[in-house]
């Protein structure tokens, strides 16, 4: 069997000493930043990115990916104990996780979250192993027209599915595309929007954009905010973690449903883990016999979103690796990081780099086992991390951001750029402009331009190529449907011109 040889090949690579070591590093760093509220996985990846330049690309990728899914495990800890999500993907977990902790069931909640995260992640990995090669094989038939359309679809889905105004999200996508044009044009070699600044000739730094919008902006809005006191860590003993039989039984179906929703949403280009958690929570509320229990410590409301976010994060690697289309800002960033390493994700990636692809997939599973070990016996350590005061944390974070941005190209200009994007992100969020689509547009923009040009060259300047080729036509129709679906609320808002305060700003 082809699949089994590939999987064996992957495990052989992932079980080598360097891969194991850096996988462990990755998931540990991931859990650490996941636990800390206000420190995202993206900051950790940005920090580790310059370090990985000196590694074998497969190992580098294994470590960076480990940070991503590791953060999903850690993020629920703060949600449960502090009522503050460690990362956005655990925002829903607060709703029932914190009430559980107030009732003295913090241990059970933490234990169940780890177990369901593991189950959700593992199922999604299996699905990924089965389907990614098929998707990639199908995508090998894509020409530039299809690539352009699927990228357009990804961007439009990301903009319309997000909370808040779809128009504002679309503007952010276009701003991202605009930022992507800065620098030397790959087709003609022309300098665009560089204003004579030498540092801009290679384009705007991806890390500077990401760290500004998601790192510095977050720090500016978090300083001085009351961070809350965690529920005493001494209560979380190993014995208190064991769930009762009834709790176990109540968690089985929500875990599976959450996993399914997560895998489905994660696999879609343009939709990320955060959306999956909200949908999983809503679904549980709908199927529950007594929906009023939700928000008061229902275990279903904790396990379903957590299974969903882990399964979504794993499944999100499917479109990212097989099509080169990231689902959310985190995946866009990882895609950018891969390209800095000279790896171009897409259908050819599986064929040309089987060891790297299968090694990475195998490492996911190993990483999830590490996380299980890290999170259950060592939960006390992570809980104690929550007591680090923010005034120690944020100066250190700022240093990590600066060194991470600076060490990519050793350009002082990039540190100033991070400052610029930090304030831009801070102000944009206040007005309800989401930062995530900028990153998606920025990463996909140059590729879209290239494929658009090539498609038109192929059709000798006729736009009909986008609807005459069958796959492209289907993608075009889906894109239009996505636009029409959101058109109703857009037209309503454009007519009334009013948005309530809570709608107008995206502040949490």
């Amino acid at each position: 069997m082809d699949l089994f040889t590939n999987i064996a090949l992957g495990f052989e690579r992932a079980l080598s000493l360097d891969a194991l070591l850096f996988c462990f590093f990755g998931v540990t760093i991931g859990t650490f930043v996941g636990v800390l509220p206000g420190v995202g996985a993206m900051a950790a990846v940005a920090l580790c990115l310059p370090i990985t330049f000196y590694m074998d690309p497969t190992v580098a990728l294994i470590m960076l990916a480990g940070i991503f899914y590791g953060a999903q495990y850690g993020s629920s800890t703060a949600s449960i104990l502090l009522n503050v999500p460690g990362t956005v993907t655990s925002a829903v977990t607060c709703l029932d996780g914190y009430p559980m902790a107030q009732q003295g069931k913090a241990g059970v909640a933490l234990f169940m979250v780890t177990i369901t995260s593991f189950i959700g992640g593992s199922i999604a990995i299996v699905l990924m192993m089965l389907f990614t090669p098929a998707v990639a094989a199908f995508a090998l038939k894509f020409s530039s027209a299809e690539y352009f359309m699927i990228m357009a679809l990804g961007l439009i889905t990301a903009a319309t599915i997000a909370p808040g105004s779809p128009l504002k999200s679309l503007i952010m996508v276009v701003v991202g595309l605009a930022l992507g044009t800065v620098g030397t044009d790959s087709a003609s070699g022309a300098m665009r929007f560089t204003f004579g600044i030498l540092e801009l000739s290679d384009g705007v730094s991806l890390v500077a954009i990401a760290m500004g919008l998601f790192g510095v902006a977050e720090i500016i809005s978090s300083i001085g905010r009351d961070s809350g006191t965690p529920i005493d860590a001494k209560h979380v003993t190993f014995k208190s973690m064991l769930p009762s039989k009834a709790e176990l039984k109540a968690s089985v179906m929500p875990t599976l449903r959450g996993t399914g929703i997560g895998a489905l949403i994660g696999a879609l280009p343009g939709a990320g883990a955060t959306v999956a958690t909200f949908m999983a929570y809503a679904a549980e509320k709908k199927v529950a016999k007594d929906p009023s229990r939700f928000g008061k410590g229902a275990i279903e409301g904790v396990v379903a979103p957590e299974a969903a976010n882990n399964s979504a994060v794993q499944a999100a690697f499917m479109p990212t690796l097989s099509l080169g289309i990231p689902g959310d800002a985190l995946m866009a960033f990882l895609l950018g990081a891969m390209m800095i390493h000279g790896i171009v994700p897409g259908p050819r990636f599986l064929v040309d780099q089987p060891v790297m692809f299968w090694g990475l997939v195998a490492s996911f599973w190993i990483g999830n086992v590490f996380l299980l070990i890290l999170n259950i016996p060592l939960i006390g350590v992570w809980v104690r991390i929550l007591t680090i005061p923010y005034k120690v944390l944020y100066p250190t974070m700022l240093f990590f951001i600066c060194i991470g941005v600076f060490a990519i190209n050793f350009q002082v200009f990039d540190v100033i750029a991070v400052l610029f994007f930090g304030f831009m992100g801070f102000i944009m969020i206040k007005f309800g402009y989401p930062p995530a689509p900028i990153l998606l547009g920025f990463v996909l923009g140059p590729m879209m331009e290239e494929h658009f040009g090539r498609a038109l060259l192929m059709s000798r300047g006729s736009f009909s190529i986008f609807w005459e080729r069958p796959i492209s036509a289907v993608l075009l129709v889906i894109t239009l449907v996505m636009l029409i679906l959101s058109a109703k609320s857009v037209i309503q808002h454009v007519r009334s011109g009013t948005r309530k305060v809570e709608e107008a700003s995206l502040e949490l």
Binding site: L170, P395, C402, I403, I416, G497, A504
Partner: protein, 151 residues
């Protein structure tokens, strides 16, 4: 009508939309100068012009959508902003001239002032600690081509 009284134009939302409109107009204008090429062989200006036009259209739509928005004027915390700008600029200015250790020390020490009532002694300890860590991990550990000090 009670809703009627609240229907005042929101200058902040309209201002934000106007900025995006100007940005789009600039991209379209500047992009046109790069040469849009022909439809068979698009030039380096084709994509920027398209983006610019799209941005202008969306900006007009958002302007309409948010004209009576209830969003408030953004409250930019002056102390925090000032301190963060100072910290990052200090790092940028010092990292290549004075070296990684002084740059890190300055960044951490300055940024601690974002919150009022900062204990100077603790700030010095934290700044020294992070600077030492920076030297240990990034210069000794990962051999990044950075000098620890100016000599």
């Amino acid at each position: 009508m009670s809703t009627q009284s609240r229907r005042t134009l929101n200058p902040w939302e309209l201002g934000a939309a106007a900025i995006f409109f100007v940005l789009g107009a600039f991209m379209a204008f500047e992009g046109y100068g790069y040469g849009v090429g022909t439809i068979t062989r698009i030039g380096p200006g084709f994509f920027p012009v398209s983006i610019g036009v799209l941005l202008m259209l969306l900006a007009v739509a958002v302007g309409f959508e948010a004209r009576y928005s209830l969003a408030k004027k953004p409250d930019i915390p002056r102390r925090i902003s000032g301190v963060i700008v100072a910290g990052l600029v200090a790092f940028a200015a010092l990292v290549t001239t004075a070296g990684l250790i002084p740059a890190t020390f300055a960044l951490v020490f300055i940024s601690r002032f974002a919150e009022p009532g900062t204990n100077i002694r603790n700030s010095l300890i934290l700044a020294a600690g992070v600077a030492f860590f920076a030297w240990l991990v990034f210069i000794l550990g990962f051999n990044l081509p950075l000098k620890p000090f100016w000599w």
